[in-house]
């Protein structure tokens, strides 16, 4: 990323401070929240235990009082009278005494608001502090049945006359013979329990402790609004209450019966068959945590802010010399080598700027040197350039001369071509009328001639024909040398060509008493120029006849050898010396024969044969054992011709 150093430093400081602050805040937040929740639950737990204990103490105290009442003198008086048939007045008095005694208990601060005595057999209310109740039967009540057996404390229940939660105590009354003669029942209002429950100490603003009975009803609450009267009409179905009513104790964060999220502790009181709960609004609990969180945020933020400020400060302090250096470098870079960088501090920046200035000085010096060198180089280049120009001139002149020479050569070449034209055309043209006129004369068109005249004319004609052959051969020769020699190949039977040639020359050979024999295999068809191959065969046979004396033999063979067809012409003639064999196929070469014979030829024949055979991709050569021992001329033609 292309960013200035200052920005990088600031970003780095910002990053470090933000990360640190965030980590610290989150860590302290999490740990404090956990710790606080734990502490809070412990706190609620202790409140619950305390209240439970108080409630139990209250009940024990109440039970003691109740037992004391039951064992009282008056009760024993009361025992007697339904069974001993005293006088009505006396009975009334006794009853009065008992009722008065009971009333004195209800009126005094013993916690009982109603006390009454049940008949042991029928459960009928015999005596009561509430006179309107006397005569009613309570045999169906739990406090009657359980009360016959011993001290019984009822569940919390709702008392309609009281319009409040109440508890009944019941206990059997015995006579002096320890016979059960009745059941004493005392109803207790829960004022003291309410007081215990109402005690809000340690519960904060939203804290609440309350009791829930086995029927899932709220019994007593510390809340003013639930008060001491509403109660028992409020159903409680919460996770905590359900769990608690199964006899369990515990704690947790859950929704209470008002739908608020609370931190709560619950405890089952087995003796009373109630559940005691203490709850605090989660928000209140967490308010402290939130406060701590806020504090951590403020402190972290402040630290981060300070760090960023420091970042700005340091980046400014660090990058200022860098800026000066960079500007200086830019100025020097633009060519002003006299520029100096004014950082005098005794640190690395000062050192760097001093070295920078030294470097600029060195640069200036070396630039001067370079400029000098450049001047020298330019001078050298100038002289080099002039030398080059001179050279180019020379080359141009030479080229001109050469092209002139070339033109001359071309002219000469043209002249040669013209010359050949003259040789072929101009030389051959006069031969036409010469030949025709000679023939007219010999044919007797212009009158009958003597034998000597005819011989003379025939000699002229023969030499005219030599000239004709010579011009034709020269034409072929020049074509071969200039590469204008062309073949016109067709599919050819070499066997037929040889046979035709032999047929043609048989008469000529016979005239000289030479035996001409042919030994030809059936050769495959090959691609070749028929006219030219015939020309070669004629040439070889002509030569053979020419250089073979009378009674001699000429044999012609044609056979296959590997990829080639071979034709051999062997004669019993003069033979050829070794030195001559090599020159045999050169143009215009003719063997000086010992015996000067009437040899006719241009000296081009074998050279042309060589050209023709080689143009077919074949070879031609001569062999001889020596002079007087005959000679063999051979040529090959490839079965698959490659035109060169």
């Amino acid at each position: 990323m292309r960013l200035p150093v200052s920005t990088k430093i600031i970003l780095l400081f910002t990053l470090i401070s933000l990360v640190t602050a965030t980590v610290l805040t989150l860590f302290s937040d999490y740990s404090s929240q956990q710790a606080f929740l734990d502490w809070n639950q412990d706190h609620l737990d202790s409140i619950v235990l305390l209240k439970e204990q108080e409630i139990n103490i209250l009940f024990e105290k109440q039970a003691e009082i109740f037992q004391m009442i039951a064992e009282n003198e008056e009760m024993r008086i009361a025992e007697l009278f339904p069974y001993f048939g005293q006088e009505e007045e006396e009975q009334f008095l006794k009853e009065k005494t008992v009722v008065n005694a009971l009333s004195s208990y209800t009126q005094s601060n013993f916690g009982f608001f109603e006390l009454f005595l049940l008949d042991v057999e029928t459960g009928k209310i015999l005596l009561s502090t509430n006179e309107s109740e006397v005569g009613k039967y309570r045999a169906d009540k739990e406090f009657y049945r359980k009360g016959l057996e011993g001290l019984f404390i009822s569940q919390f229940y709702y008392s309609f006359p009281l319009q409040n939660t109440a508890i009944s105590f019941s206990i059997p009354i015995h006579d002096l013979q320890q016979q059960t003669i009745g059941v004493l029942v005392g109803r207790v209002d829960l004022q003291e329990i309410f007081e215990v429950m109402n005690e809000p100490a340690g519960l904060g603003q939203t804290g609440e402790t309350y009791l829930v009975n086995v029927y899932n009803y709220l019994i007593a609450s510390s809340k003013k609004e639930t008060g001491n009267t509403v109660l028992i009409t409020q159903p409680v179905y919460t996770e905590a209450s359900k769990s608690c009513l199964q006899g369990k104790s515990g704690s947790g964060v859950y929704q209470n019966f008002e739908g608020k999220t609370v931190v709560g502790v619950y405890h089952w009181i087995p003796e009373r068959n109630v559940c005691i709960l203490a709850e605090m609004n989660e928000q209140e609990v967490l308010a402290t945590v939130l406060y701590q969180r806020w504090m951590a945020f403020v402190i972290g933020g402040s630290i981060a802010f300070l760090m960023i400020l420091l970042g700005f400060y340091f980046s400014a302090k660090l990058t200022k010399p860098l800026e000066i250096l960079s500007k200086g470098a830019e100025i020097i870079g633009k060519g002003n080598l006299k520029h100096t960088i004014a950082i005098t501090s005794q640190d690395e920046f000062g050192e760097l700027s001093r070295e920078f200035n030294t470097m600029a000085g060195n640069l200036a010096a070396s630039r001067k040197q370079i400029e000098k060198d450049l001047e020298k180089k330019q001078l050298t280049e100038k002289s080099l350039r002039s030398f080059q120009v001179e050279l180019e001139d020379r080359v141009e002149k030479r080229t001109e001369e050469l092209s002139k020479a070339n033109e001359k050569l071309e002219e000469l070449d043209k002249m040669k071509d013209n010359f050949l034209n003259i040789v072929t055309h101009e030389l051959r043209n006069p031969l036409v009328p010469i030949k025709l006129q000679l023939e007219l004369l010999i044919d007797g068109d212009f009158g009958k001639l003597s034998k000597k005249q005819l011989d003379s004319l025939r000699m002229i004609l023969r030499n005219e024909e030599r000239l004709d052959t010579l011009t034709a051969d020269m034409l072929d020769m020049t074509r071969m040398k200039t590469g204008k020699f062309k073949l016109f190949p067709t599919s050819v039977s070499l066997t037929s060509l040889v046979k035709n040639a032999v047929d043609e020359f048989t008469v000529l050979a016979a005239l000289r008493s030479i035996t001409l024999t042919a030994d030809t295999q059936q050769l495959p068809m090959i691609s070749a120029d028929q006219i030219r191959i015939t020309q070669v065969l004629s040439n070889l046979l002509t030569n053979a006849i020419k250089f073979t004396s009378e009674q001699g033999t000429i044999q012609i063979k044609a056979f296959e050898e590997k990829d080639n067809c071979v034709v051999q012409v062997t004669d019993s003639g003069l033979g050829i010396s070794k030195e001559n064999i090599e020159k045999l196929f050169e143009a215009f070469y003719q063997i000086e024969t010992r015996v000067q014979r009437k040899t006719e030829g241009t000296g081009l024949g074998l050279a042309i044969c060589k050209g023709i055979i080689e143009a077919h991709g074949g070879k031609i050569w001569a062999e001889s054992e020596g002079e007087g021992k005959g000679s063999t001329f051979s040529f090959t033609l490839p079965k698959k011709m490659i035109i060169l």
Binding site: T424, R428, P430, V432, P433, L436, D445
Partner: protein, 122 residues
Amino acid sequence: MKRILHVDNEPDTLASVKTILEKEGYDVTSVSTGMEAVKEIQADGYDLVLLDIMMPDLSGWDVFTRVMKVSPKYKIVFLSVLDVTSERLAELKKHGLTGYITKPFDRDVFVKKVVDLVNLKK
């Protein structure tokens, strides 16, 4: 009598050919330039034209192509010292050439060829 036009810039050749062909019973007209040949051909009808190729003013090729353009039925035979290949000859015949005789030639061979070509129907 069959009429033959012979064009050649060599007077001796013209004279020799005329002698030989007249002995065979032909009416031979000899001209020595290409222009004359063209004029002659335009003016008169010939049974055969023997045409030299290499001539100073108008070459045999030129004469041949001009004549073939106007009257392709004309029988023209080249007489030349230049060799001709069978391929080239076939091509020329496609363009209307009747024959080709290489100079120099034997009298008998020449006469036989001329007789054949004069009687040839084109």
